[in-house]
Amino acid sequence: MKRTRFVFSGSGGQGVITAGIILAEAAVIHEGMNATQTQSYGAAARGGSTRSDVIISNQPIYYPEVNQANILVCLTQEAYINYSSTIRPGGLVLTDSRFVKTTKKVDARQIEVPMYDMVMEKIKKPIVFNICMLGALLGITEFVRPTSLMKVIKATVPKDFIELNQNAFELGMELGALYNE
């Protein structure tokens, strides 16, 4: 896989940082790739905008921050306004249709998926919103194998929550598959 730069953005508590870590860990531990993950740290634990940068490559990665993302995920309007102009030409912007109204004309494929609404309708637990988002992302393009990602989720979340996360992940995969080209 050639170098792919991801930016996961949203607000604190949505799990965008955790999502970035899970994806990168799946690539490193289960796919034999290199990955880096950095995040902008602030003092606030909830609320406020957060962002997590992930680079995945089979080559060494030196500079670990992402200036122009191939893949940009925005889960809030603020994140979309801040970052959508930095997408690499030809890249992919994934947004949640409840929280983000795409307005800008960007030189990228923009995909709006009702991830939050579907999570609330089918699973009724907003905490797995981020895992549904990862499912949607892999449904659109298999950056890592879904089984690799599930292995990391199983190793990360408490036992009683594995099924919940698995359902959210599969739901996301179904939603994303609609946009698989």
Binding site: N34, A35, E65, N67
Partner: protein, 407 residues
């Protein structure tokens, strides 16, 4: 003592094999973790069994993880009332025979300086981690800086020598942490690990070596039997001073005052002069053994970037891109900052058209480089002091100006 790792070709891969890179490695040994966690793994590998500290961003994960892991292996973790007490606690624990560490950031490192000088004077092995953040004072807790380079050298008063190591990636964080413990034991000295917020918080791959893959230096204990006079400050012929666990078989004195071979205070001019020479010479005379560095694309380089820590990542990134375009740009990555590797830097830079020091301060290592190269006027500084990670474009802009090509 590991040799310097020289990887000076365009196929530089930083020790990581491209493709199928996990083949042949036990799954449990591959981690995707923060630099602070890699430091903890290195410390445990080296045999740390006592940690005292006071958590501070961006070093907190080191204390957090050791508070879990040390008790599991029968070690001790103590959260002290402040950084001064933490430093004193590790000094005491080291004297009793333990491998010890504390971790902090700038404000806490300031507080530790007095006791750090005591450890220099009393020759007590210990490892102090400083994950650098913006300063001075409480500065910018959650952002990156490399402004404590000189504090590591001269933060405590009086003539003394010190060892300070650093690293730019997690595999190296692990290895220099092991090295720090080894050097502390070998030279009976405090060793400072100068990391920074980016390396500390970033996550990337770490492959934990099998036991025995990296050398471990254990405490050199005296062979003097119980009941026989033991001289705690009488060096052997090789200059090393065997220790005796304090409170065990031998009674002896430890002081921050100038002292004789018994450890008792002395202001005898000869004792004072000889002790100070010993404290400085044991480290300065071994610069070549302590020096650690890496070369990236350095062969035949016209333009040499000297960097360390997270800024070295940007320097290597830039050099790799330039080399792919046929420009002779290379990176000399320092992994030991103190004692400063003057001879090595002078030799490596002898044929360079320009030397650019890449760091996130106002030129702390640049001044050392200027002082040791043949032509100081060819040394430039590429820096950032806004507590953001310097990026490859920042460095490229300066390089183009030096080359007379404009931005």
């Amino acid at each position: 003592m590991t040799d310097n790792i020289n990887s000076n070709s365009v196929n530089d891969n930083n020790g990581i094999k491209p493709n199928n890179i996990n083949n042949g490695i036990k799954a449990n040994n591959i981690k995707f973790i923060q630099g602070n966690e890699a430091c903890v793994e290195g410390a445990l590998y080296a045999g740390v069994d006592f940690f005292a500290g006071y958590p501070i961003t961006p070093s907190t994960e080191i204390a957090e993880l050791l508070s879990k892991k040390l008790p599991e292996k029968g070690g001790k973790f103590i959260q002290m009332e402040d950084e001064i007490a933490s430093m004193c606690a590790i000094i005491g624990a080291s004297l009793t025979g333990h491998k010890v560490m504390t971790a902090t950031s700038g404000p806490g490192f300031s507080l530790k300086q007095e006791a750090l000088g005591y450890a220099c004077m009393a020759e007590i092995p210990c490892v102090i981690v400083n994950v650098q953040r913006g300063g001075p004072s409480t500065g910018n807790p959650t952002h990156v800086s490399q402004g404590d380079i000189n504090q590591a050298r001269w933060g405590t008063h009086g003539d003394h020598a010190i060892i300070a190591l650093t690293a730019s990636n997690h595999q190296d964080v692990f290895e220099v942490t092991v090295d720090a413990f080894n050097l502390a034991e070998t030279y009976r000295t405090p060793v400072i690990l100068l990391f920074d917020e980016v390396v500390g918080h970033m996550r990337e791959k770490l492959i934990i070596p099998e036991k025995g893959e990296l050398p471990i230096v254990d405490r050199l204990r005296t062979s003097v039997r119980k009941g026989v006079d033991y001289h705690p400050y009488l060096p052997r012929e090789d200059g090393r001073l065997p220790m005796s666990d304090f409170g065990a078989e031998h009674r002896y004195n430890v002081t921050g005052l100038f002292h004789d071979m018994w450890g008792f205070p002395s202001n005898n001019p000869q004792v004072v002069r000889e002790l100070l020479h010993h404290l400085v010479d044991k480290i300065e005379n071994n610069v070549h053994t302590i020096t650690r560095y890496k070369e990236h694309y350095l062969e035949g380089a016209d333009y040499i970037l000297i960097s360390y820590g997270s800024s070295a990542r940007s320097a290597i990134h830039m050099a790799k891109n330039r080399r792919e375009r046929g420009e002779k740009v290379g990176v000399l990555e320092l992994q030991s900052i103190w004692p400063f590797p003057e001879v090595m830097v002078r030799e490596k830079c002898a044929n360079a058209k320009a030397v650019i020091v890449v760091e996130m301060n106002m030129g702390q290592v640049m001044r050392e480089v200027k002082a040791c190269v043949d032509n100081p006027s060819k040394v430039f500084l590429a820096n950032r002091i806004d507590n953001k990670l310097i990026n490859p474009t920042n460095i490229k802009t300066l390089l183009r100006i030096i080359q007379g090509r404009g931005v």
